[in-house]
């Protein structure tokens, strides 16, 4: 594998083929827990870890598993990984686990994970599969966090509230109050806010892509800057 192909994998996961903005996969957890930055980050990282582990495992066993049973085996692998992560989160991030609740076990049903297993990991070596899982997970996390930030800022007038659930005591100091005595904007917190917010993010991404295209002069691809914004 050459250097360029890794860059392509990364660009795909973070931007060109972002699981949330382009593939539109895993919408259920994406919309449900993106009400604050920390919730988004928590679920994003759990999904990222699942993607990396499942991609690596699937890639390792890709030559043993016959094609007739590959789907049940992949599902088995993913379900085992998610259950293990769920138990670990319950043990080490108990408070955050309680808030994310049902959405941790539901990572199993995030189609982005089995899609990567089937479309990429089952056909590629371990290292590229790792990079693919990592960047896809990062792309998903970036969208969750961005959407979480938009909804938290608009809905509650804060950022990084309850960061102590993830980072311990230091986290309490991370909370940023943008507006004092903010009365809250209900729409942003409720599910419709998630749909509207995601729609706006997709629109922004498409606009950026369209602008890039219209600049006919090839600007030597400005790498993946802005993807993590």
């Amino acid at each position: 594998m050459t250097q360029i192909s890794y860059a392509n994998i990364a660009r795909d996961g973070l931007w060109n083929n972002n699981p949330a903005l382009v593939q539109i996969l895993g919408l259920c957890p994406l919309l449900a827990v993106s009400n604050t930055v920390i919730n988004g980050l928590g679920l994003g990282l759990a999904t990222l870890l699942t993607l990396v582990l499942s991609n690596v495992t699937v890639s390792l066993i890709r030559n043993i598993v016959r094609s007739e049973i590959r789907i049940p085996v992949f599902v088995l692998v993913i379900a085992s990984i998610v259950t293990a992560i769920e138990l670990a989160m319950n043990a080490y991030f108990h408070e955050l686990y309680k808030i994310l609740g049902i959405f941790i076990p539901l990572i199993v049903t995030n189609c982005a994970i089995i899609a990567r297993a089937e479309a990429f990991a089952s056909k590629n070596a371990v290292v590229p599969s790792f990079v693919d899982g990592f960047t896809m997970g990062l792309g998903f996390t970036a969208v969750l966090v961005t959407l979480g930030a938009m909804r938290e800022a608009l809905g509650q007038g804060t950022l990084f509230a309850h960061a102590n659930l993830m980072f311990g005591e230091i986290g309490s100091m991370m909370k940023i109050t943008l507006v004092d005595n903010y009365h809250g904007f209900l729409l942003a917190i409720l599910p419709p806010g998630a749909f509207i917010g995601l729609g706006m993010l997709i629109a922004i991404k498409n606009t950026i892509d369209a602008r890039r295209k219209s600049r006919t002069v090839p600007v030597a691809l400005p790498a993946d800057a802005g993807a993590t914004a």
Binding site: R66, I69, A84
Partner: protein, 215 residues
Amino acid sequence: MIRYMLVTAILLGIFAIAGTGMVAYTFDKTDERIADNEREALLESLHAIVPPALHDNDLPADAITVTSKELLGSAKPVTVYRARKDGQPVAAIFTPIAPDGYNGAIKLLVAISYQGDIFGVRVISHHETPGLGDAIDTDKSDWVKDFKGHSLGNPGELGWHVKRDGGDFDQFTGATITPRAVVKAVYNSLQYFKLHKDELFVSNTTTSGEEHDAN
């Protein structure tokens, strides 16, 4: 052909065993810590309304279950934790349900001193509207802390309603149903306590039943 199918089936079986093994291993490693966390979280929420200094028994362990559909909001058994000091009853902490919230059941913790005053009320879980009914949550407002110190006689039967219904307790702007449900559930818990006060503290530990100082 049969041989091929057999090998495939065995392969699938091996993966099932490996997957289950991994989950079993993780469970074994995290089991104790999860139980500790849950205990810790329970103790923390109980101590928020009954300060640790007021009791010397193991609250999560000193619990019984009681059932009263009318007064505790559920046809299922409801847990009651008992706080004691030097073997004397100090308070009972109910976990009743307010069944008539705006979006279904609201789970509460209601701590009542042996004398019948409220030590404190907390909401454990609810599905009330964010920004309106969720002011019952201590994260959002201090409303629920106003129950402290009230009892059946204070403010009396007529006062145990929200202001809109002629009672003493504030409702929220735009949300009356939620506080109404909580006020009613707390009042019902007090009534249950009055009716069953002595039975509640029996079992496990012997109690004298005499008047004593809760402090």
